[in-house]
């Protein structure tokens, strides 16, 4: 009998130190990926993350899955090979605007054109982050950078337009700070059969801060973003009072819903001919709200399926091949290393020792220690201990379900920490558990043990964790309480959403927050 193991976000978190700048948008993308994968029902050993080179391309290190940090721009190539060799894998390509559209532009086009069944996430920060801020193919015309001191003179690439031009079967766009939207898009991408391409607007706080602010600033984003929903009219604006209509010449125009009926607006259709998706991809600030969501999702033949079918047919007709025979069938010759012929580069002379090779890449310099400013003060530096959180209701893990319910009721709280006989935290029992597992399902509470109904895999923080970290977990998981433990795993206190809200209300006055 096969057993399915319930995966959680934690199963996808690796033990590697995450080496992105504080406040980098890459973190948000990582968090959503780790949240979405356990929901896909795919065993962990079937996931492979393949990246090229760049800050974004460090992603595979932080995923507790198989991964390849590959060659600059060539992740699609490795991914294609891997998918053909083992079509059962769930393959994810992680790339940046530089990696995927400069050096790897050609490879990206062809993987999309072939419709290999894999998922490509392109982190677009409109800059080369890793090499310290040179312009990239998505930098807007006129952008001044270290490599374009007078401003770029060329037109920039629009990643969604590019892949639609290559006949992509799934094209979507999302934004690093719209986390729920991002999670939904990742899920849709995973479900699509064929190449899924997702552009994520990602903020590089160090070299291109605020490049997407019109789409992320809470005061303007609703006016500047158009949420695409299949089958729905294209409506936008904070008060949902504007829409997109087609004028003559297949040009979109913005209309007010005060004058135009909903039925006359343009309706989104993910399966429409790609000219609709292309037109949507051309809608850009400041003339139009920029669409996010799924531009196009259509079914087309899948590359590896076709290739495998050909191989099967060939084997049926001509029998299994013999690689050795093939090697020796035609003219063969041997190639000698240069060194042996005495006219080349002597290994070991002036090449760097292998371990240092990475750091010898041209232009790659470590930031000076301390040369970074954390994104914002207080939220990132104030700790949970500063909030002076109260101790939680605790109980031995051995008590009955009836007793646990009675104690919650008596204390009038919705959260209880359960301890073993060394006072170590082994689980929590909350009103959420009551709703999910107990109410109207278990009749004789006294005969049951609370340990069979508690949540055993508990996410905890230490008192030294920042307030931002607590908010991060609450936003990610809808937690209402997070236990605070000491280094020995003993619960010290519990942080509730209420105390976080209070803190924010008190501490974020003018100019302090972001």
């Amino acid at each position: 009998m096969s057993e399915t193991i319930e995966l959680t976000r934690k199963d996808f978190v690796s033990d590697q130190t995450v080496r992105w700048c504080p406040g980098c948008g890459d973190y948000a993308i990582l968090a959503q990926m780790q949240k979405v994968l356990p929901e896909l029902g795919i065993p962990r050993e079937k996931f492979v993350f393949i990246s090229g080179i760049g800050c974004s391309s460090r992603f595979p290190y932080y995923m507790n899955t198989y991964g390849i940090h590959s060659i600059h721009g060539r992740a699609p190539t490795l991914a294609t090979g891997l998918k053909i060799a083992n079509p059962n894998l769930s393959v994810w390509v992680i790339t940046g605007d530089g990696d995927g559209l400069s050096i790897g532009g050609n490879h990206l086009l062809h993987v999309v054109r072939r419709n290999v069944d894999l998922n490509i996430i392109l982190f677009n920060n409109r800059i080369y982050g890793l090499t310290k801020g040179q312009y990239s193919p998505t930098s807007l015309r006129g952008t001044k950078t270290k490599s374009s001191p007078l401003g770029t003179v060329e037109h920039s690439f629009n990643p969604t337009s590019v892949v639609i031009g290559a006949e992509a079967t799934f094209v979507a766009r999302t934004v690093d700070s719209h986390v729920q939207h991002m999670a939904e898009i990742f899920k849709r991408a995973a479900e699509h059969k064929g190449t899924s391409f997702v552009e994520v607007y990602q903020n590089c706080v160090i070299f291109n801060d605020g490049t997407w602010s019109y789409a992320t600033d809470r005061n303007t984003k609703d006016e500047n973003i158009l949420m695409l929903e299949d089958g729905k009219p294209m409506i936008f604006g904070k008060d949902k009072d504007k829409g997109i209509r087609l004028s003559g010449y297949l040009e979109p125009e913005i209309v007010s819903l005060a004058n135009v009926a909903e039925a006359d607006l343009l309706y989104h259709n993910e399966r429409a001919p790609s000219s609709l998706a292309y037109m949507l991809s051309r809608m850009r600030q400041p003339d139009f709200p920029e669409p996010i969501g799924v531009f196009r999702a259509v079914e087309e033949p899948i590359y590896e399926v076709g290739v495998m079918r050909q191989i099967d047919e060939a084997i049926k007709r001509r029998g299994k091949g013999d690689l050795r025979k093939l090697y020796h069938a035609a003219d063969t010759w041997e190639v000698f290393p240069d060194a042996e012929r005495g006219n080349g580069h002597q290994a070991g002379e002036d090449s760097p020792p292998p371990g240092e090779f990475d750091e010898a890449y041209p232009g790659v310099v470590f930031h000076e220690e301390g040369g970074l400013t954390p994104a914002k003060p207080s939220l990132l530096t104030d700790t949970l201990a500063d909030l002076d959180p109260p101790p939680p209701l605790t109980a031995p893990v051995t008590i009955s379900l009836a007793e646990a319910v009675a104690r919650l009721k008596k204390s009038n709280v919705g959260f209880m920490a359960l301890l073993d006989n060394n006072d170590k935290l082994v689980g929590v029992f909350t009103d959420g558990d009551v709703l999910a597992k107990v109410a109207c399902q278990v009749e004789h509470l006294a005969e049951e043990k609370v340990k069979d109904y508690m949540t055993a895999s508990v996410t905890t923080l230490t008192g030294q964790a920042t307030i931002a970290q607590a908010l991060h977990l609450m936003a990610l998981h809808n937690f209402r309480h997070i236990p605070i433990v000491d280094s020995a795993g003993r619960v010290e206190s519990v942080i509730s959403f209420r105390s976080v809200v209070r803190y924010l209300g008190q501490n974020f006055s003018a100019g302090n927050g972001r």
Partner: protein, 155 residues
């Protein structure tokens, strides 16, 4: 702008209010709890032909239902909180928050001009609002606090 000023200018309807399930009056307690569980909601809004008549929350389940088998087959009307306090879609968000804080409410139904329920103001809505307001500080964080670094790496 400070958070207080922000919340003064924000209308309740612009928060994420989807966190509820709707149940018709007369539905049994058991069916109500089941619907909440399946839809993963902590609050049921009880309606009579679309009109709000009460709310029923995870708090009520803990207090009145979980260890009282005799309540399971009762109609939800017997256990719900009738005519709960509500706010209007266009009310100021800071007022609604103050109300929640002051009264220790965890769910406040939101009504439109015609008195129809358009949502439920909850903790999740507030956490999401706050997180969205400080996205860089909240969303852009490593999976575990100890996994952060101050030194950026090269390729």
């Amino acid at each position: 702008m400070s958070l207080e000023q922000d919340l003064q200018l924000e209308q309740v309807q612009h928060l994420d209010l989807k966190n509820f399930t709707t149940v018709e009056i007369g539905t049994s307690v058991k069916k109500t709890v089941e619907k909440m569980r399946v839809e993963n909601r902590h609050c049921a809004i009880i309606v009579d032909e679309g009109e709000l008549v009460g709310i029923f929350t995870d708090r009520d389940i803990l207090r009145k239902v979980v260890d009282a088998r005799e309540t399971w087959d009762l109609p939800i009307d017997d256990l719900m909180t009738s005519t709960p306090l509500t706010v209007q879609a266009k009310d100021r968000a800071d007022m609604a928050l103050a109300l929640m804080d002051f009264k220790h409410f965890r769910n406040v139904p939101v009504l439109d001009d015609e008195g129809k329920v358009i949502g439920n103001l909850t903790h999740q809505a507030i956490i999401k609002y706050l997180s969205d307001r400080f996205p860089e500080s909240v969303y852009n964080l490593p999976p575990n606090p100890e996994q952060a670094t101050r030194q950026r790496i090269g390729a």
